[in-house]
Symmetry: C2
Subunit: 328 residues, 2 copies
């Protein structure tokens, strides 16, 4: 009997979940829910139903885990608690500062309904958080570093697109190699924002736009670019589509720390992701945690959980015996 | 109230545990148990009792977690089940092929006594196992690679020392950079033993020994060296002590995998450790899992566990709320 998965929201992440479910033979996508007109939505998995979000109630007993693929700004703060009243859910809520509040809301709803709600799943928050946590528990006398990239930041790309005279844009966040190396050498450097990452922008101008003004507006934009060394390249829409249509990302979590009676020995723990597709990889992590949500629910557990709370074995399709024999 | 730790066996690992406990303010080393004469053993932590192993029974109610620092060949198969009848235990049993049997023995003993026994803790088995498992659950369509080194292999160093004419020796296992790069590029290469690692030996000869014969015996030794490209350097005892007295180790766990409806996107997950002191780092991992053993036991759980079974948050001195607010 396979785990029955539902998807709410069919953007890049929703399609990524659909692809990830296909790679997991113990799972089955049964329905995709959308706020658009279902008739106009064509999904990859021919066997899945396509329904309007208002019909979700009817699927209460036909879906084991509902995966919420909306955004963190406005969708998930409402959807996650609401759907945790009907389904076991997994979301990828990534507004770090609001996680405690989101956890409390999902926890209350899920406990009342006897459901599991795993929040903030993906790679950051998600696998990067796990690696920060394991590493700091193992090397308490140490220092953490997280570098992101090279990868596309949708938020920064959007910010450039809002500038007058800009037709299209793609922004890459790039870790500074020298900073990475200093961390790897155990030098425990204090790094400013500017020293950790640079920003590289590929911009398509509207006809007649003033390139110099656009470049200046980008480089001086507070919060987004002013604190970074930023490079701006003006290119054609064709080149943007040809060379910059992917959504790669990734990064590094590094902890360096000391051991020994007098702290005489140094250690480095490094976790690196290099991803061709940010949403597809995020979806893979979410789908593994959907398996965990299903199992926890079968055991009678309820409430909100994060990656910190889930025993690793719950993510794997293999049994505990198989894991011990083949992977330990 | 701090977690009361006992150490059984005071070699490199036992001393590493002693140092690691010092770095964790919620723990306290209360006693070290030895098979040697306790009077002749001087430990770093002045406040800890030093006792003969035969006195362990008397400490049943004074120690929360006993950390077993013996070897996997003969010590742990006997000690782990025996001590799990008296204490919550953590061991670093690392004979991969015998883990299922060891797990069953510890599980039976620990369940009978109502204790927790976490086995095979360290970095391989341990953190490397965890990373293999997480990565394979996330990217089911992929391939795993583990590389070890650069680091000292005690087993291989010992094997060289048993050759006639050898006074002392130190052997390093070294990953082949070209193989690592091929894996990082997502080429999914099939790698033979020889293609993954080389072996580098530093050997001190006894007076009058035949260097050529010793080198030949090393390079042709079955299992240990015959399947590898091996380099032998003859050096003086002084140089060995000066340049090769540390016990560094480390390595890489890499999984590359595909996502997308047709497997069109590639991803790389890499975990790397670079350790000045293999036993001290292993001890740090063990001590974090001792915290987990203590908590599981407080919750009334019993039986054998591995790193796959333990929710990550149980390793950290921080509360679940603190972890969510600061690390997720």
């Amino acid at each position: 009997m396979s785990i029955k998965i539902g998807i709410l929201g069919y953007g890049n992440l929703g399609r990524g979940v659909e692809c990830a479910v296909k790679k997991n033979p113990d799972m089955e996508l049964v329905a995709v829910f959308t706020r658009r007109e279902p008739e106009k939505l064509s999904v990859l998995a021919g066997t899945a139903a396509v329904c309007h979000v208002s019909e979700a109630d009817d699927w209460k007993d036909k879906i084991d885990v509902m995966i919420l693929c909306g955004g963190s700004a406005t969708d998930l703060p409402e959807q996650s608690p609401a759907f945790a009243r009907l389904f076991n859910i997994v979301d990828s809520f990534d507004t770090h500062a609001r996680i405690p509040e989101h956890f409390a809301n999902v926890d209350a709803a899920a406990k009342e309904a006897g459901k599991i709600g795993i929040i903030s799943v993906g790679w950051d928050p998600g696998m990067f958080s796990l690696n920060r946590m394991y590493a700091s528990a193992i090397l308490p006398d140490g220092k953490d570093y997280t570098f992101w990239g090279k990868g596309v930041s949708q938020g920064h790309s959007d910010a450039i697109r809002r500038i007058e005279g800009v037709e299209n844009a793609r922004q890459y966040t790039v870790p500074v190699e020298a900073a990475l190396e200093a961390v790897r050498e155990g030098k425990n450097p204090e790094l400013s924002t500017r020293e950790k990452h640079t920003r590289e922008c590929f911009v398509v101008l509207k006809e007649g736009a003033d390139a110099e003004r656009v470049e200046r507006e980008i480089k001086t934009m507070p919060n987004y670019f002013a604190d970074y060394d930023t490079t701006v390249h003006f290119i054609s829409e064709e080149e943007l589509q040809r060379e910059h249509s992917g959504i790669p990302h990734g990064g590094f979590v590094i902890r360096s720390g000391k051991t020994g009676w007098e702290g005489e020995n140094s250690h480095l723990m490094e976790y690196r992701l290099k991803l061709d597709s940010n949403p597809e990889f995020t979806a893979c992590v979410i789908v593994a945690y959907a398996r965990a949500a299903y199992r926890l629910s079968k055991e009678g557990m309820a409430g909100a959980k994060t990656v910190f709370d889930i025993p690793p074995a719950y993510l794997s399709a293999k049994s505990a015996e198989e894991l011990r024999a083949s992977m330990l």
